[in-house]
Amino acid sequence: MSRARQPPLVTGISPNEGISWTKVTIRGENLGTGPTDLIGLTICGHNCLLTAEWMSASKIVCRVGQAKNDKGDIIVTTKSGGRGTSTVSFKLLKPEKIGILDQSAVWVDEMNYYDMRTDRNKGIPPLSLRPANPLGIEIDKGRFPQKDLETLFPGMSADFTSENFSAAWYLIENHSTTRFVAVLKMSVVNLKKQANKKNEGSLAYVKGGLSTFFEAQDALSAIHQKLEADGTEKVEGSMTQKLENVLNRASNTADALFQEVLGRKDKADSTRNALNVLQRFKFLFNLPLNIERNIQKGDYDVVINDYEKAKSLFGKTEVQVFKKCTSLLHSSMLDLDSDVRPSPIGHLSQTASLKRGSSFQSGRNDAWRYKAPQQVVFVEKLTKLVVSQLPNFWKLWISYVNGSLFSEKMIQEVMHSLEKLIRGALLPFSLKEGESRQYGGWEMKSELSGQWLTHVIQTVRLCSESLTALEIPNDMLQIIQDLILDLRVRCIIVTLQHTAEDIKRLAEKEDWVVDNEGLTSLVFQQQKIQEDVCQLSIGILQVFIDCLEQLSTKPDGDIDTSQTIKFVYFQKHLLIVSMESLKELDQRLFEMYIESKADPIVGSLEPGIYAGYFDWKDCLVPAGVRNYLKEALVNIIAVHAEARLEICALRDTVAIYLTPESNSSFKQALEALPQLSSGADKKQIFLYL
């Protein structure tokens, strides 16, 4: 077995016993190859890994946790050696009771001490403090008979606690053989020492008998209460009065004594609170810095975590400082946002970053981040690259200001490849055969929508703006300008195409509904839907016309007069085309309507007409008709009238955007209608009637 494979063995523990949270040093063999190799540490069955500090393969320092067992092994587990054993054990001690006045480095639950004075320190009677041998020299008793001494010192005593203590008697009784000079001198020193000690001791004595004092005070106040209750009069000098005085003095003294301690405790409490609060605030105030650091390190997860934490802690704060801090945080998150996103020179574009900021806030950032089509991302990255790198080239060129063709070419080349690459991505058809192979190669599932194209245009514009800011001559940037123009044209075309397709698809959808019998008529009979569709289509046309108008009438700008004329022409053409198709549609609609409505009426008459083998040839010229024929004719007239109404309604709704020409077409349609209904037919009908 190789040495590294051997399990850990704990052979030493220092100290070998202690209360919870005692710091212990563990020594042994194979305690791991490094801090990360150490994967387990239990003392008395309690996991201490959290506090473990790996020092070497033979030494670990940790703190004993709140262990379950009183005495137990120290088990070290490492990745390299597995679970180990120990030859020594640790004994966990119950925390010693700490007196209320003792200083303690660890937090002590004061609940346990509440009853201390009733069950502990009953107090040592003062007399037990007296030393058995106050002189501290050897006692040799019995030389003098007691009786002789009693007669020698009448009314006196050798007991040094009694009031009539006689020092001479005591000396004769206990130290009669002691040689004066040598030993008694020492005894004097001893006595003095003890006297001193006693003075010191009084404090210890008070401390030790603290509970007795408490009890005494309790008893006194009880007596006092009793007496007052009994109604003993409050005469000056009476027992109650005296007691009260004593009690007051006692509590005053006690207050004075404890004031310092209690003050310290209050201070400690408030300090602890303040520390807690500070800790939280520190987190917030340090956060911007930490975030910056983590961003530099690339720990975005940490950043986002911290940010969320701070938001939950201080998000709803009203305090000005915190608000400021959180807004600072927010802005740094926005910076991060624009860094992380595939956005070029995001920091240059105020609006862009603002937009992104709001999207970040609303939590839809993910959609933003991941749904951008590849080509868009590509262009953004590319422009960013150029903007970040080109300045260097440009400076290079400036430093060779004499205009070496080579460097100028360099700039031009960069411009060229930028242009070609973007063209390859977005306008592949504008490239030559060879070029498209070099710069293209995008898998086009479907063409980019106009929205994305506008975005790209914006991106490229920003790029060219920042390049212009470098004072690169315009002639070098011309290709970029051309590119932008091409992109814009493309954008318009694509937008129009897509809109047309969208509308077409709308019809397709409607067709699908038509297939389901009954549903179509339902959909179109609902007033609301009808109106909405109407409104929407009118809106599209309206906006389009407005747009064209604006473009054509714009007096200044880069559009020259010929272009304006072109636009007007374009508009006219468009309107004529649309009107013609509208007219056709009108006619078709009208015919379809008449046919569909009149058909059932005629259809119901026809079988009856031919029922009796009726033939117009061998029939007399009819002089009148029956009522049912009249009714049928009236119905047909009603249908015509309805159609007419419909046409009028259509004209009214589209009147807002229709030109005189289209108006005239309506007139035509209307004229056609009365002709049909009020012409010869009508006369005939009236004749019949």
């Binding site: 052979t11 030493g12 523990i13 220092s14 100290p15 202690g18 020594r27 030859t87 020594v88």
Partner: protein, 206 residues
């Protein structure tokens, strides 16, 4: 006498050694040097440390259990208990501090008091920090005559250079082993052979 812990070690003889002496004389330093071949430069007063490992004593695998006690007076009260569990003692003083040498007498008395019922207690007087010869306060002769008076061995060590470190521990273990063997003889009236069988029997009986 058989250790109750660690199955593979339970059959091995266990000798319990206790480090005794004033604070700062180098008890912990000696122990750590013996156990882990390392010298600790800074002084960290001990409360009570436990160490136990396998060693080969005269060809026989045994376990040594070292209890490193507190020299500081603050912990004097808990010493009695510790001393009771010991089978042999290293009575350490520092040759650079005379007071630590005079203190050895008191420590010895405490040991004798606690172990009053035993006749001869395995004990070595150890004069540590022999590498600091220029600061010596306790002459070799003084220490040696005291040891002779007590009828024990005197050895000078250095926890820093490891001089005589192994020697004091192994010599003490030999004394402990000898004492146990003679006790066995007395108690059982049996011949304590070197063969495994009798060794095992002895373990069981104890």
């Amino acid at each position: 006498m058989a250790a109750s812990k660690g199955k593979n070690q339970s059959s091995l003889a266990l000798h319990k050694v206790i480090m005794v002496g004033s604070g700062g004389v180098g008890k912990s330093a000696l122990t750590l040097q013996f156990m882990y071949d390392e010298f600790v430069e800074d002084y960290e007063p001990t409360k009570a440390d436990s160490y136990r490992k396998k060693v080969v004593l005269d060809g026989e695998e045994v376990q040594i259990d070292i209890l490193d006690t507190a020299g500081q007076e603050d912990y004097a009260a808990i010493r009695d208990n510790y001393f009771r569990s010991g089978e042999g003692f290293l009575l350490v003083f520092s040759i650079t501090e005379h007071e630590s040498f005079t203190a050895t007498a008191e420590f010895r008395e405490q040991i004798l008091r606690v172990k009053a019922e035993e006749d001869k207690i395995p004990l070595l007087v150890v004069g540590n920090k022999s590498d600091l010869e220029e600061r010596r306060q306790v002459p070799v002769e003084e220490a040696r005559s005291k040891a002779e008076e007590w009828g024990v061995q005197y050895v000078e060590t250095s926890a820093k250079t490891r001089a005589n470190v192994d020697k004091v521990f192994f010599d003490l273990m030999r004394e402990i082993r000898a004492k146990k063997m003679s006790e066995n003889k007395d108690k059982n009236g049996k011949k304590s052979g070197k063969n495994k069988k009798s060794f095992k029997e002895r373990c069981c009986l104890l």
